[in-house]
Amino acid sequence: MDFELTDEQTLLRNSLQKLLSAEYSFERRQAMLQTPFGHSPAVWKLLAGQGVLGAGLPEAQGGFGGPVETMIVMEEIGRALVLEPYMSSVVVCGGLIADLGTEAERNELLPRIIAGDCCAALAHHEADARYTLSHVKTSVRRQPGGLVLNGTKTVVQDGAVADIVIVSAQDDEVGGLSLLLLDSTTPGFEWIRYRTQDGRSGADLICRDVQVTEQHVLGARGAGLAAIELAVDTAIAASCAEAVGAMDALNAATLEHLKTRRQFGQPIGRFQVLQHRMADMFLQATQARSMSFLATGRCREPDRVQRRRALSAAKAFIGKAARFVGQQAVQLHGGMGMSAQLSVSHYFKRLTLINATWGDVDHHVGIVGDLLLTAEQ
């Protein structure tokens, strides 16, 4: 085993840290929260300028590296609480286009995504599905002159700022799921845009008799579910890294608070009950990092069962750790932890939302449990 980063990877991390600490202070982020959807074209362009939007995407279209590079970027995004649609545009949709797209599609779209000229979002979740990826009622049917898409997608992350969208639908003609790659202004789309609790954006997408053709199908028709599962596992690994970065920052802030906040004539970090709490937060974050490595290392694993077990275990573990670290960071900050003027509450909110995305703790514990039964048979 080798847990060391290469020189190039270390350089990526250091330069991104430097960029974000110069350009993405908490105060600047507070100002960005006041914009309609949190997304800053200027910051997005800065990230593109450093080549960060190419991490994990193919070199042929201007990308570089793989899951480890994605992990490095996402950890820094978590540490600085970046509001940008990196996960949706680069990790999920960039990844799907790289995996499934024709050479023409890759050449057309990936350079634009990498240059920050085009934001993409995945419209997959539906209201009655919860975290079950296979539950899709949106349908695509044959009609004279092409295909027609109908259905409602809920909580499309970064949906309010997306230029293009990948919509999953039951393909009545061939069976299974097909993925449609569409412009967000396609006639028949109704977007209900909103902010999310962590200051980012989301949207519900209602598709009414949307006219599409086979040209819009990304990858093979009917083969969408396996592709979505792989993309979600890449997203889970990226989420785990983001949570690790956020937990790191939150633990550092809490430790500083314990050392500097004085009550009863001494720093509150002198009280043993708070020392033990902080020690538990540290050990949760330490192990969360191990699980983030596991997720990163296994997210492209072709053996579906191995991959499933590793990714669900990582997401469940990190969800529990993030909940503990987030709640206790607020608790140890006292009233100050409840204030929107300190970063603590913002980290806590982001960690809470990471937990509710791509399957919560119960969902993934359930999957690991189901795999125990499968292994027994």
Partner: protein, 398 residues
């Protein structure tokens, strides 16, 4: 031992239900049950309705215009009010400063202030915490210096709840900086309209305006507004805190939230199946229900003991810890039940007359913010760490 309510208590419950059925406006209970934003008028209006029924002081003795109910009756009343969706009563007046004025105020103070709390004239708020005095409340530094017939008050209070709506504030102030910290504190009643008071909101985690910082700049307070004796304020404050903690068990509210959770889990679908049919999620509900049963009976035991001894005593810390933990667990599960719908932030959906999109948001939109907001319950009113210190030191003698 008998775990059942007496015939009189059961009859009392029926009486409360009939009252709520008749006098609680449906529009108001819909707002409360829907976790909508309440206005000052909603809360004051309810206090007036209670007052008209002679129930303005459910926890007060008859001699001060209260109902004279036993603590068991008060508990039944609170529980029925919560389940029916009555707005919260303004606890800073009714449950906090009111009992202090009754126990330690002079005749003139009692005659002036208490009726105004009962009939909803005065909204009270609390000036305890300061930037440098949180858990270590006795280290507070807001000064009150005597100048003839007034105190001149200078300093800063923080984490003040709803002070922007308040008419009066009760404050702990330092009147003797030479004495040991607890011995130099006095309990002052201050009119919020007095010149020199500045109230500034602290934006909170859920985006709502609930707490404030309050500055006092040469605020002149008549000496007649001192409660009890100068420098004895700490004793009164401790009396108040133990009263506050019994209330904070919030069993009725927890029952209401559990019911909401059960309904939500029956409606939310997971791959087309009811979330309530997911055994893992259902067991989480069951665990909270079991914890709530334990809390409820413990509350009843403390209340029964209180009948004989009036002062709730340090075991109220048990109720505060468990009450806050159960409220937090319920708010967390309510959010968890939403799945992806935990993500959207739609603050307008907390307004009573909102009918926007996405459809259904009026039901789920308040729940994630409520989870964030409820983190306060293990921090305020004596953090749960402080409560455990009280149990360790005052009950266990460690």
């Amino acid at each position: 031992m008998n775990l059942d309510f007496s015939a009189e208590e059961t009859q009392f419950r029926e009486q409360v239900r009939a009252f709520l059925c008749r006098d609680l406006p449906a529009q108001l209970s819909a707002k409360v049950l829907g976790l909508k934003r309440l206005t000052r008028e909603d809360i004051i209006g309810w206090q007036r309705i209670l007052h008209c029924a002679g129930w303005g002081g459910p926890s007060w003795p008859k001699e001060f215009g209260g109902t004279g109910w036993s603590s068991i009756e008060q508990h039944i009343f609170d529980e029925e009010c919560s389940l029916a969706g009555a707005p919260p009563i303004i606890s800073f007046g009714s449950r906090m400063v009111g009992p202090v004025i009754m126990a330690f105020g002079n005749r003139a103070q009692q005659e002036h202030f208490l009726p105004r709390i009962l009939n909803g004239t005065d909204w009270w708020c609390q000036g305890y915490s300061e930037p440098g005095a949180g858990s270590d409340l006795a280290s507070l530094t807001t000064r009150a210096e005597r100048r003839g017939s007034v105190y001149s008050v200078n300093g800063q209070k923080t984490w003040n709840t709803l002070g922007h709506l308040a008419d009066w504030i009760f404050c702990l102030v330092r009147t003797d900086s030479e004495a040991r910290p607890q011995a130099g504190i006095s309990f002052l009643l201050i009119d919020m309209r007095t010149p020199g008071i500045t109230v500034r909101p602290i934006p909170l985690i859920d985006g709502e305006h609930e707490v404030n910082e309050i500055w006092f700049d040469n605020v002149e307070v008549p000496i007649a507004n001192l409660i009890g004796e100068e420098n004895k304020g700490w004793t009164y404050a401790k009396y108040l805190l133990t009263h506050e903690r019994v209330n904070i068990a919030q069993v009725g509210q927890a029952r209401r939230e559990l019911k909401r959770l059960q309904q939500l889990a029956a409606r939310q679908l997971e791959g087309g199946q009811r979330l309530l049919d997911n055994v893992r999620f259902r067991h989480r509900l069951a665990e909270v229900e079991i914890d709530l049963m334990a809390l409820e009976l413990t509350v009843m035991r403390v209340l029964s003991a209180e009948k004989k001894r009036r002062d709730p005593g340090p075991e109220s810390s048990v109720l505060k810890i468990r009450g806050s933990e159960i409220q937090q667990a319920l708010s967390e599960l309510n959010m968890q039940a939403l799945g992806h719908y935990a993500l959207p932030w739609i603050p307008t959906a907390l307004d009573a007359d909102w009918h926007g999109s996405p459809a259904g948001a009026e039901v789920w939109a308040p729940l994630t913010g409520r989870y964030f907001n409820q983190r306060k319950t293990s921090i305020f009113s004596g953090s749960n760490e402080i409560q455990r210190n009280i149990i360790a030191q005052r009950i266990l003698g460690l």
